[in-house]
């Protein structure tokens, strides 16, 4: 667009102007697409969901079958063959439903023990029986309820009843199994519950963290979108409108047409400078980059004949602060170059208390944006900057100020060095992070 405008300036050729317009319209389309893309919401992260519980009954059925086989094996090949061990098999079979129908499992096992007692059947298979009793008790205590506890007590009673025919130590063994298993299960399940809760909390926190990161990224993208809009679309609007002015005046008033094309060129130039600054701001990675960027800016002003002094005694803590600091300095220094009639500019980056202060002062004769009229988009530049600085939690002050007898202009940004975390309303529903460790 710019080269075309340069060419059109001398020839005032309608064809060239039409091409400028075409380029401008294409740029509008691209800007629009870019803005839409930047404004698109980030994909939503689904909140963590509990993993579906695996079916526990298969393993239990297998265990029950194994224990039953042990009972049958001992009965068939063991030393003391007796009547069919129906009661013992009822106890081992009860293991299969210990987690699915816990109460039923306890009652079936209790029934088995009563049968053992009635038939005076000896405890031929101690290990299988002990294992069954342990497993059933374990499950019955896992998540206690009144019904389950009652069923467990029935089981314990019948088991102790069945031991009456046995040698004395059987009673002790059975009691030990019952109490040991119950207590062990209780402790185990409590620990597991705590572990699960802790994991759920940590998942919630990590989800919330990633949501916060996404939100911050979206906000950042919106900032970029706004900056792009501010700089590029304003420039293109001005360029297109003044191309129109040139078009309608190319024969009517060539002087006005040339002036309009001058405006097209200068608007394009200043947009390019601003976009370069924006690009630089987005790439700033810390204090050293800021120093380099400022030094380059100082050179730019010096090349234009200004007497610039740069003093940097403090450094921004992070890239974001560096970006805002850079944009403040750049905007103010560009304004000094554009508007200030003075020849001296003092730029300083220093620390005041906990704040990083960026100030740019010149000895020029005031500033267009303080008067009734406004300069070349300067007012909106400082307004946009005010917004950006506020977003960062800082404050921006600008206006005329006495300078060595005359009236200069100053821009001062005060940026907090310590980032404040905004309060999260959802935080109340969850324990503080510190509680996770306990």
């Amino acid at each position: 667009m710019l080269d075309l405008a340069h060419a059109a300036r001398t020839s005032l050729d309608p064809g060239l102007m039409a091409r400028i317009r075409q380029r401008g319209e294409a740029a509008v389309g691209e800007l629009r697409a870019l803005l839409d893309m930047l404004r698109a919401p980030p994909p939503a992260v689904p909140p963590p969901t509990a993993a579906p519980a695996s079916a526990p009954w298969r393993g239990d059925a297998l265990t029950a079958a194994l224990l039953s086989c042990m009972v049958l094996g001992e009965w068939a090949y063991g030393s003391s063959s007796g009547p069919f061990p129906a009661g013992l098999l009822a106890v081992t079979a009860a293991v299969s439903v210990r987690r699915v129908f816990t109460t039923l499992s306890s009652l079936v096992a209790a029934f088995g023990f009563v049968a053992v007692w009635l038939t005076s059947m000896p405890f031929v298979t101690g290990p299988a029986l002990a294992a069954s009793l342990t497993l059933i008790t374990w499950s019955a205590v896992a998540s206690p309820s009144r019904r389950r506890t009652a069923a467990l007590l029935v089981l314990a009673g019948s088991c102790l009843l069945a031991t009456l025919h046995e040698p004395d130590n059987s009673l002790v063994v059975a009691t030990s199994i019952l109490t040991g298993s119950a207590i062990g299960s209780r402790i185990w399940h409590r620990l597991e519950a705590e572990h699960t809760a802790a994991r759920a909390r940590s998942e919630t926190y990590s989800h919330r963290l990633s949501a916060a990161v996404d939100e911050a990224a979206a906000r950042q993208r919106l900032d970029v979108a706004r900056d792009l809009h501010d700089v590029a679309s304003r420039a293109i609007a001005v360029m297109l409108l003044h191309t129109s002015v040139a078009e309608v005046n190319s024969t009517r008033d060539p002087a006005v047409a040339r002036e309009a094309l001058d405006t097209v060129v200068s608007a394009g130039d200043s947009a390019l400078t601003e976009l370069a600054s924006l690009d630089r701001a987005l790439r700033l990675d810390g204090a050293e980059d800021l120093r380099t960027a400022l030094a380059a800016e100082v050179e730019r002003l010096r090349a234009a004949g200004l007497d610039v002094r740069l003093e940097m005694t403090a450094r921004p803590r992070d890239a974001d602060t560096a970006e805002v600091a850079w944009r403040t300095a750049h905007e103010a220094m560009t304004n000094a170059l554009k508007h200030a009639r003075g020849s001296r500019v003092e730029t300083s980056v220093h620390r005041e208390g906990d704040d990083l202060v960026v100030s740019v002062r010149d000895d020029g004769a005031g500033h267009p944006s303080t008067g009734t009229g406004r300069g070349m988009g300067t007012g909106s530049g400082l307004l946009g900057l005010t917004q950006r600085v506020r977003q960062h939690g800082g404050s921006l002050r600008y206006g005329p100020r006495p300078y060595e007898g005359g009236t200069g202009f100053e821009v001062v940004a005060r940026l907090p060095q310590v980032a404040e975390v905004p309060p999260d309303p959802a935080a109340e529903s969850l324990p503080a992070l510190g509680e996770l460790g306990s």
């Binding site: 509008v28 679309s233 001005v238 129109s244 309608v248 009517r252 309009a260 405006t263």
Partner: protein, 231 residues
């Protein structure tokens, strides 16, 4: 002579618009303003006929500005000057009473024609664009119901209203309803007055917002108010 007020925060945009308008002998730019509230003051003091207003401005933006201008000077018409078409801000301005919108990339001769057109009471853009705009940005009521204001229309007026809301011109409505164009014109004027609408654009927005029209522009037959012979 059409008295025009140019409102934009960007000095160079105002100059550009002013210079384009200056080439037309029927148009006189009576003033400039930097934001909506300043525009309202200027519109009243300078007795502007037409206000060309940017949508996004620091201070009072174009949407609030439209409202303020129309309150301060009801005789004026407001046209939004925007960078992009189909913008949600543009819709807000139309709802606030703006008569249309023009792109900053509009060719100069079309800009001038549009100023004359709006001043003469014409609609600024095609019904298709308007429908696209409304379909994109108006949130339709989840349970469409005829707004009470519409109940006050006679069945005939209601019929005309649905045609207006679909973006039909007077001639098209006349052909569809077997009426003379003059009758349609009278109907439309009475409907707009009764509904307190500024122009046909607001009629379209009302119809979509109330859910009277679906996305395809067809009427929901079930929502027709009871036909009352006494009316």
């Amino acid at each position: 002579m059409i008295r025009v007020l140019v409102v934009d925060d960007e000095h160079l945009v105002r100059t550009g618009v002013r210079r384009i308008l200056a080439t037309d002998d029927g148009i006189s730019v009576v003033g400039e303003a930097q934001d909506g509230s300043e525009a309202a003051r200027a519109a009243r003091e300078l007795r502007a006929d037409l206000v060309l207003m940017d949508v996004q401005m620091p201070g009072t933006d174009g949407v609030d500005g439209t409202r303020l201008v129309l309150r301060a000077r009801p005789a004026a018409r407001v046209v939004m000057l925007t960078m992009f078409d189909l913008d949600e801000h543009v819709l807000g301005a139309l709802r606030a009473g703006a008569s249309g919108f023009l792109l900053k990339s509009t060719r100069p001769e079309r800009l001038l024609a549009a100023v004359h057109g709006v001043h003469g009471g014409e609609q600024l853009f095609s019904p298709t664009i308007l429908r696209r705009l409304v379909e994109t940005y108006v949130e339709r009521a989840p349970h469409p119901a005829v707004p009470p204001a519409l109940e006050s229309l006679t069945p005939r007026e209601f019929e005309v209203f649905t045609h207006v809301a679909r973006g039909s011109s007077n001639a098209e409505i006349a052909a569809a309803l077997f009426l003379s164009e003059a009758t349609v014109k009278t109907h439309v004027a009475r409907i707009l007055a009764r509904l307190g609408l500024r122009d046909r654009i607001q009629a379209v927005i009302l119809a979509y917002e109330s859910g009277l029209l679906t996305a395809r522009g067809t009427r929901r037959t079930t929502e027709h108010p009871p036909i009352d012979g006494s009316r």
